[in-house]
Structure formats: structure tokens, C-alpha cells
């Protein structure tokens, strides 16, 4: 028989860390400037893809970097920072190339329709929004917001992976199996927490200056509950094997 209470009590700190990681991911998604289908037609500010897709793409790239570092280091802040940097690089590259396409391929200057002045550069925005659109491209404020999203999402994903790996270290499981199981759970928990905020975002968000950003506490609270349940299952599975 598996000693469920014993395993949970032994790993309670990891359950809490996984929950914290999930909440970080959920919070991070609100920073990622996505415009969904309208942005792909230069009809809305942000990147022309879905919320979950981009957040997951960036966060999972961070997970790959965190996996590389965790193999050779047991320093938690370094592992989490590596995950954050991997995700930041992915999202920054995607956004800079997105800017090339908007500026050189479509011929539109980056402009936000949600604010009159860019909060960072103080540039006027509304005059540069072309007719019949809700803005286009990635003004500096959205770009910086996306980088912050990558930082938090990658860091959160790496924290989840680190906690899952640590929970399974003493079980005597073969390393390859542990890594496989922990990484699959980390990817799953990432997706759960990337989907929850999309109900707040509803397809498009420009970044932290967007009025929709203020709704983040609801998503983070939902993620707290969802990730806690996921963490219980994950820790029981990994710790009980």
C-alpha cells in the first residue's frame, strides 16, 4: 500500500512550491502581449497568436534550459533563473522578428490602441493606429511586458520542474524515468496555468497597461486551487513510485 499521508507530509514543501510556480505562470500570461487572429491581420496590437500558444512556447523553452542546468547544478535560484532566461530569450526573439514583419512586411508602425501615450517611452500612440484597427505591432511597453511575462513564466515553470525532481530524488527511481515523469508533469502543469488566464484575456491583451490586466487576481486565485490539486497528484505519483 502507498502511504499517501506520509508521502504528502514528507513533500508538503514541494507541493507548496509547485503551487507557487503555477501561480507565477498564471500571473505571467497576463503580461504576454497577444492579439490572436486580429493581430495576424495587423488589426490588433500584440503578437499574432493565441495566449496559451505563445506563453507555452516561451515557458517550455525555459524548461529546456532549466533541464540543462539542473543536470549539473543543485542551486535552486540558478535553475529558476536559467528557466526564466530561456523563456525571455524565446519571447524576445519572437517579438523582434514579429516587429520586422509588421514594419518591413506589412508596413505599419507599432501602435497601441489602449493608451494614448506609451507609459515607458511617452510616445503618442493613437495617431499611429491605422483606420479600422485596434492598433498593431509591438510598441515598447508591450515588448517590455512580454519580456516580464517570459521571466515570470519561465521562472515558474522551472520552479515546478525543480520541485518535482526534488520530490522524486529519494525514491530510488532511475534518473531517466524521474526526469521523464517530472518533465511531463511540469509541461502539464504549465498548460493548465496557461489556459486559466485566457478566460480573463479573451483573445487579446496588450500587456500590463491593458485594462484587462487588472483582472489577474481572479486567474491567480483559480490557479492556486488548480495547481494545488495538480501538485498533490504529481507528488503522490512521483513520491509513491
Amino acid at each position: 500500500m502507498i502511504d499517501i499521508a506520509g508521502i504528502l507530509m514528507e513533500n508538503i514543501s514541494y507541493v507548496l512550491l509547485i503551487t507557487l510556480g503555477g501561480m507565477l505562470i498564471s500571473f505571467s500570461v497576463h503580461f504576454v502581449p497577444v492579439g490572436g487572429a486580429p493581430a495576424a491581420m495587423a488589426q490588433a496590437t500584440g503578437i499574432g497568436t493565441g495566449t496559451v500558444q505563445l506563453a507555452a512556447g516561451a515557458g517550455l523553452t525555459g524548461l529546456v534550459t532549466a533541464g540543462t542546468v539542473m543536470q549539473v547544478s543543485d542551486n535552486p535560484p540558478l535553475i529558476i533563473a536559467a528557466g526564466a532566461v530561456g523563456a525571455m530569450i524565446m519571447i524576445s526573439v519572437t517579438m523582434i522578428v514579429g516587429t520586422w514583419v509588421y514594419v518591413y512586411g506589412v508596413g505599419v508602425p507599432p501602435a497601441s490602441a489602449k493608451v494614448k501615450y506609451d507609459p515607458i517611452t511617452k510616445d503618442r500612440q493613437d495617431l499611429y493606429v491605422s483606420q479600422g484597427t485596434e492598433g498593431h505591432g509591438l510598441p515598447t511597453v508591450s515588448y517590455v511586458s512580454g519580456v516580464i511575462g517570459g521571466l515570470l513564466g519561465g521562472g515558474g515553470g522551472a520552479l515546478v520542474y525543480y520541485s518535482l525532481m526534488s520530490a522524486g530524488m529519494d525514491t530510488g527511481m532511475a534518473m531517466a524515468n524521474l526526469v521523464g515523469l517530472a518533465s511531463i508533469f511540469a509541461v502539464g502543469i504549465f498548460f493548465v496555468n496557461a489556459v486559466i488566464p485566457s478566460y480573463n484575456i479573451g483573445g487579446t491583451i496588450e500587456g500590463f497597461h491593458d485594462p484587462k490586466f487588472k483582472k489577474w487576481p481572479k486567474a491567480v486565485f483559480s490557479s492556486l486551487i488548480a495547481t494545488f490539486m495538480c501538485a498533490l497528484v504529481a507528488v503522490l505519483t512521483i513520491g509513491g513510485l
Binding site: G50, V101, G105, R124, S130, T140, V144, S183
Partner: protein, 301 residues
């Protein structure tokens, strides 16, 4: 590992990623997938029937992740259970993934236009016969390159994740990059070449996609030909940069040589991000100066 060998492998991975990125974007152009396909789907409802291959199996990241995970699983089984050579196993994995993708493309193609019968959208069988092999060809190249990247990471760089999972993750990432960059060239420019260059799509023009080609009626090949000049290559550069730069920081500043070096890799990554933020700002300023405002300031006027 010798840093030089690490850098060489990384360069190879970057090159494979660049090819994968370009083929991923062109696959989504010739078959019309992802967000720009919303306009292809909308066109018949606005009374603009067309000859463009209409498939949107799912968002690009899940569909590419499926392809790459199928290919990665087949390759791993062939390598570990049957001791096949990696090149053969990866080629077979990519082939099976391309067949699976082709199957989804056909069912998606039949599903979408037939649901628009009431808007008089025909189902062109010649489009199906001619485009599907091309879609499968592009998906083969994408999957093959992703599997090469994943295999090199596992076998040479010693990454702990299993090959199918790495292939899955890179599949998600390549789909996210492709739908964020190259697809904008297809959606915002190619589909709406009839409107003036230098503006986003006016909501009033939604669904009014260009249906006439350079010769005859426009189809997916024409779109792929146009996007191969800009959208495809930049997607390749983007994904190549993601794979190369995210690996570069930990190869040059290898955390195995101590935590201090590990922190240097973090600082190097953060510096790269800072450079890109400044670069984006420079492009933004140049674009605002070059294209100018669309309307005059009412207060000033």
C-alpha cells in the same frame, strides 16, 4: 564537453532550426493554417468563394507538437528497440509524422469547405490532390529538422529530457514562433494585397481576401511562393535564433564548471534580451518617422 564541439553542435542545431522554421511557415501558408485562415474561412460567408486550401487542423503549436511527438516516438522506438541507425530512425519517424499530418490535412480540408455549402463554396478536388503532397513534404522537412535538433541535444549535448518530449516542446515552440512571425506576412499582407500597403486590415474589409493570382485564380501555391520571399525566411531566422541563443548561453558559460559560470550564463542571456529591447525601440522610432501618423492631432490642428 569540449566547448568547441559544443559550439559546433549548436551551430548545426541552429542551421536545422532555421530550415525547420522556414518550412513550418511555408507549410502553414500553402495549407492555410492558424490565425490568417480565419479570413479564408470567413471569405465564402461574405460571398467570396475561393480556391485556397482551407485547413486549420488546430493552432500551429499543437499541430506541430503532434507531428514532432509522433516522429520522435517512432524514432526512439526504432533506435532503442530495433537498434536502427539514428539517421534511418529519424527519417522514418519524420515520414510517419508527415503521413499523420497529411491525413489530418485531408479530413480538415473536406470538413471546412463542405460546411460552407450554403455559401456556394465548392470543394476543389484538384486543389486537394495537388496541395496535400506539398503540405506533407513541408511537414516532413519540419519534423526531420526538429528530430535532428532533439537527437543532437540528447545524444551529444546530454540533455536529460527524453527525445519525444524534447521534440514535443520544440514542436510547440516552432508553432508559436511560426504563427507569431511568418503568418503575419501571409495574413496581413498577402491575403489583402488589394488594399493599400502600409496599414492594418480595416475591419470593414474582413473576408475580402484576394482571390486572383499572378496567373489565373489564386491558390495555396501562390501564397507559399509569395511568403517564401519574406515570411518563411524570417520565421526560420526566428526559430534558429531561439534554438541557438537559448543553447549558446549555457554552452559558452557552462554551468557544469561551477555556479559562478552558471550565473554568468544568466547575465549573458539577460544582456541579449536587453539588446533586443533596444533594437525593437530603434525599429519603432524609425517606423514612426518613416510612415508618419495616420491622422492629425485634433488639438494641434
Amino acid at each position: 564537453m569540449e566547448p568547441l564541439i559544443g559550439m559546433g553542435v549548436l551551430a548545426l542545431m541552429g542551421a536545422a532550426a532555421t530550415v525547420a522554421g522556414a518550412s513550418e511557415d511555408l507549410e502553414s501558408d500553402v495549407g492555410s493554417q492558424s490565425n490568417p485562415n480565419s479570413q479564408v474561412q470567413l471569405a465564402p460567408q461574405m460571398m467570396y468563394p475561393h480556391r485556397i486550401y482551407n485547413k486549420a487542423i488546430s493552432g500551429e503549436p499543437p499541430s506541430n507538437a503532434l507531428m514532432c511527438a509522433v516522429g520522435g516516438t517512432v524514432a526512439t522506438v526504432l533506435m532503442s528497440a530495433y537498434n536502427m541507425s539514428p539517421v534511418f530512425a529519424i527519417a522514418m519517424g519524420a515520414l510517419l509524422a508527415a503521413i499523420v499530418h497529411g491525413t489530418y490535412s485531408v479530413t480538415a480540408f473536406f470538413g471546412r469547405p463542405t460546411s460552407q455549402k450554403r455559401f456556394k463554396q465548392p470543394v476543389y478536388l484538384d486543389i486537394l490532390w495537388s496541395h496535400t503532397p506539398v503540405i506533407m513534404g513541408y511537414s516532413y522537412i519540419t519534423t526531420f529538422c526538429i528530430l535532428v535538433i532533439s537527437y543532437l541535444m540528447v545524444a551529444v549535448l546530454g540533455h536529460p529530457f527524453p527525445l519525444p518530449l524534447l521534440a514535443f516542446i520544440w514542436g510547440i515552440a516552432i508553432g508559436a514562433v511560426g504563427s507569431s512571425t511568418g503568418d503575419v506576412h501571409y495574413g496581413a499582407e498577402r491575403e489583402f494585397q488589394s488594399v493599400e500597403f502600409g496599414a492594418g486590415l480595416n475591419a470593414a474589409n474582413s473576408g475580402n481576401i484576394v482571390r486572383k493570382g499572378e496567373s489565373g485564380l489564386r491558390n495555396g501555391f501562390d501564397n507559399s511562393w509569395f511568403c517564401a520571399k519574406f515570411g518563411g525566411p524570417v520565421t526560420g531566422i526566428a526559430f534558429g535564433m531561439v534554438v541557438f541563443l537559448s543553447g549558446w548561453v549555457t554552452t559558452v558559460f557552462d554551468p557544469a564548471r561551477g555556479d559562478a559560470i552558471g550565473w554568468l550564463s544568466v547575465i549573458a542571456g539577460a544582456l541579449l534580451v536587453l539588446i533586443m529591447i533596444l533594437w525593437n525601440r530603434k525599429i519603432e522610432v524609425a517606423a514612426r518617422a518613416a510612415y508618419g501618423p495616420y491622422k492629425e492631432d485634433e488639438v494641434a490642428a
